[in-house]
Subunit: 326 residues, 4 copies
Amino acid sequence: MSRLILHLTTLCIAFAMAGTGAYAQIATDVAGRSPWGSHDEIGTLNMMTDQSRLDILQQVHSGKVYDLSVDLFVGMPTCCAEAFGDPAYQIWKTHEPTRQEGGALVSHSSDTILMNTHTGTHIDSLNHFGLHGRIWNGISASEALGDRGWTRSGADKIPPIVARGVLVDLAAFKGVQHLPASYAITPADLEGALARQGSELRPGDVVLIRTGLMTVWPDKSQYQLFNQSGLSLEAAQWLVERQQVMLLGADNFGLESFPSTNAENFAPVHTYLLAEKGVPFMEVMWLEDLAKDKVYEFLFVAAPLKLRGATGSPMRPLAIPIAARG
Amino acid sequence: MSRLILHLTTLCIAFAMAGTGAYAQIATDVAGRSPWGSHDEIGTLNMMTDQSRLDILQQVHSGKVYDLSVDLFVGMPTCCAEAFGDPAYQIWKTHEPTRQEGGALVSHSSDTILMNTHTGTHIDSLNHFGLHGRIWNGISASEALGDRGWTRSGADKIPPIVARGVLVDLAAFKGVQHLPASYAITPADLEGALARQGSELRPGDVVLIRTGLMTVWPDKSQYQLFNQSGLSLEAAQWLVERQQVMLLGADNFGLESFPSTNAENFAPVHTYLLAEKGVPFMEVMWLEDLAKDKVYEFLFVAAPLKLRGATGSPMRPLAIPIAARG
Amino acid sequence: MSRLILHLTTLCIAFAMAGTGAYAQIATDVAGRSPWGSHDEIGTLNMMTDQSRLDILQQVHSGKVYDLSVDLFVGMPTCCAEAFGDPAYQIWKTHEPTRQEGGALVSHSSDTILMNTHTGTHIDSLNHFGLHGRIWNGISASEALGDRGWTRSGADKIPPIVARGVLVDLAAFKGVQHLPASYAITPADLEGALARQGSELRPGDVVLIRTGLMTVWPDKSQYQLFNQSGLSLEAAQWLVERQQVMLLGADNFGLESFPSTNAENFAPVHTYLLAEKGVPFMEVMWLEDLAKDKVYEFLFVAAPLKLRGATGSPMRPLAIPIAARG
Amino acid sequence: MSRLILHLTTLCIAFAMAGTGAYAQIATDVAGRSPWGSHDEIGTLNMMTDQSRLDILQQVHSGKVYDLSVDLFVGMPTCCAEAFGDPAYQIWKTHEPTRQEGGALVSHSSDTILMNTHTGTHIDSLNHFGLHGRIWNGISASEALGDRGWTRSGADKIPPIVARGVLVDLAAFKGVQHLPASYAITPADLEGALARQGSELRPGDVVLIRTGLMTVWPDKSQYQLFNQSGLSLEAAQWLVERQQVMLLGADNFGLESFPSTNAENFAPVHTYLLAEKGVPFMEVMWLEDLAKDKVYEFLFVAAPLKLRGATGSPMRPLAIPIAARG
């Protein structure tokens, strides 16, 4: 594990030497205080209201449901097993139909799963990354970290998400199957991709970034791990500060481009979004069907499992097309 | 484990001697063949269409979202740990923010979960129970059971569920906090409860049965396990054959009343629904908020994790009120 | 979990009010510094030498081997699952002989286990309990606790144990099947039991305490948990400071009598032995065969799994009778 | 997983075309019947007697104990995770000393492990491999395979092993750091290595094969997996039928040379030893210290965990030098 971290850190340092210096100007490197108060644990998800939900629900004009998640299976690629030594996905049988239990007629099957909370399509809770030991809203480990995890900002606190969703298809904009290794998406890329689609972002949106990497899923040798294409810090900032998105998502392992160009931070977009700005995000999303059908705007519905305290949760988000609003 | 099965079986026998004999007239005790074809793995969920989904989506008249799931936490009641020796819910930390990995600024937390697939609010896949060794559509273990589970009718095959939902509040109908131990809900109870509410069932509905047991959750000593109140086989038959429901759910551990009155089958409603009729169902649902607000009809949205082959999956179903249809 | 801790603490307080006050005179309540140096991680196990091992090996006069461990199986009693919310023992199949993998002839079976490190017959490492946050040799969590456990005094550091062993049969001395609930063994009990047997203790011995509780194993309702009979702090002190034992063991869940009479310490013998004196010990030992055959002195051979950093390890200790030394 | 099996099978076929045809002459490809009776579950371990054990114990002339096992740690190489999709070794904390539980003084740490039973230094039970669906003594899955594993010939049945051990240092004989990839040790190699050492084998011995691979442990890129050096079937036959060994062991992942030259059997030495001849064996053994000190004959002491039904068990075998017998 530590070797891999070392690997990442070494890469960080190498890149930092050629870096633009832009980083320090964006991120404050301090866990943010919530504008929704000292008790807030969900950050920008506070942007949802009954009215915002009803508004988008009433724009639905199709009964076709897009499934934005991947299957979970033994042997599937998992970021955290390969990069950090976390357990890979497992499922096993605990009861089999071939044993006679509970009466001659009955054939009972059951099973158990084991998985890192960041396996398959999932959401990152705000407590997943902190800065200088503090997570969103300035909470420290001594205040809120227990034997089994955080008591603040866990997956159990994340409300059901019902909001306007927008797909931003970067692969289509660039005319590639998927973005090249370590490509860092810029604000100009986002603007270009949105223009190509004729889509616009609105405050409170769920914005889904398509790198195209799902076209090689689940081939571990091709689905980028240590050299992943994804958001630059500038693009994340543009989405959050300029566009006021509520929630982000992507079809890659970790939303942002890797390796980091900041030697002191191997995941600067993670810390910027989760710890500084209170913006959760989703990873390993299946965006191929939306892209193929050119469904760029939709009702987005998702709800993670309420795993108490967890730094993330698997989930199965859905998209349902909406009518263009006049 | 075997002692508990023995316990259940003994109870079955004791009850069977005082039984009504009605059982044999209802259930055929043979795994059913799907009217949707030999390849079908999802049974009544085939009732959904783009039109049925659009129809219910367009009836939404509120942006209030009801969360129908419970938290998952260490020490929570789990049917399968206590009755069958399955693992109880666990979560543990695999990375802590207090260790310096990946750069001086970053505080990385991560965790892993382990759970039986029937833990907390969840859906039972059609492969969870069979009859005489065969699951829905007549599939045997030799055809489709592998080292890690079934290759047919697993949770990964269950489509996103977007349908009309109806709460049937039995506890309110009976005027009790929750139904008494081992109470078996009858078709007349269902009719009475629906009449009290002014609700009607329609083909393709998701029907949620409220016993009131969530009022004692998560108190293991009160949340009925071996003596659970729930559906009788007659009530299940009435819902499926008379009302043509698509999906069932309840707020108890196992939908049906326990112990069984059939000495050869400790879970006759399970086998009737899953193996004979192809009707999946949900358990351990949080129905308190709907009941309190008297929200009896709603848009129901849920999607289990696509755990390949699994006999069930945790999930977080949602309900959104609909307008009365003229 | 926290409810159980509360339960233990409440019991502690209740008992403390009727306490003897003896406690404070024995235990210093500060993690001890090792006489074997600041790098020591194994405490009294340093007493072993090539000469001490050869000496006892040469006293063997029988080829009969006594197995001092219990089976590990799903549903077995485990202290830490029932008292502390830790996972109970699990084993599951990952490959089955009925699937054709790797060629037509081969039938391959494999399995996986999951267990708290204090399950079944096991040894407690010195890092299992500390005082005021410091373990043996004054090591604090900030110095040596990582994401996955301690880097000091783990089970991987425990050397193979080859030493003189002595069984002290308290149940036989008291003339009971097993000691009564919460009975606290005194120094006088130990002296009496040794006299009855005609055994004597020598510095560096492995001393195994028989309460007789294995006669009710694995009946969870009888194998004492929260009200366990076992060593008093005085008896532990007598063994360590007067008799200079090297290693302790017992046939109960937790060596010492529960509940504690010290409101500030629910396991004072654990902290005294592990943190203050550097004496590891074994629990859930099978001592019935030795007792039945009246084998009171023997070659003791045991070696835990080298689980890096672990607070304990399952193991299977052996005893081989020695000749009386003239 | 299936891809890896396919990979192995393809290799098998490739090799088989250049094969010697010797295979069919040795192995009968049918599970053997035990000469110790139809109830036997331990095969050649029946060769041990009180007299055989006492005999070897009395030859001990040193108190130096050699530890023949490796550490278990997150990230360690595990055959079954990399080749078969089994879970890799995991350990995690379930209690931390920094939380105040059970009184102000106490610092309680605890942890849980998860591992395939063939992880680190371990023994293979006779039920690990069968032929045509039958394990040792002709037992079929329908007779003795349950939900959680076999009820016959599991690790719980393996008695403590106290016997004469012999190291056969093939790497030293060949004058290499370790045997080359896929090298298959021949009977002549064994004779040559024994002659070089001046060692002789006796019926009932524990024979440990040193390939030298532990010199590259735990480097996954060098510790041979799919192309492992190890015993040929002829060498295994020579050891079992000519030398009447009781138990085998090696310092590699899987005792025998891989890939197999038999297209219908990816592990012919496994099936020959376990299923046909009833000879258990150990893998991933640490033999470096014995080799360095030229300790070729010794008291061998080992006892697996009694994991009920398990196909193997981690263990920590020990060796203690014996005097040359006149």
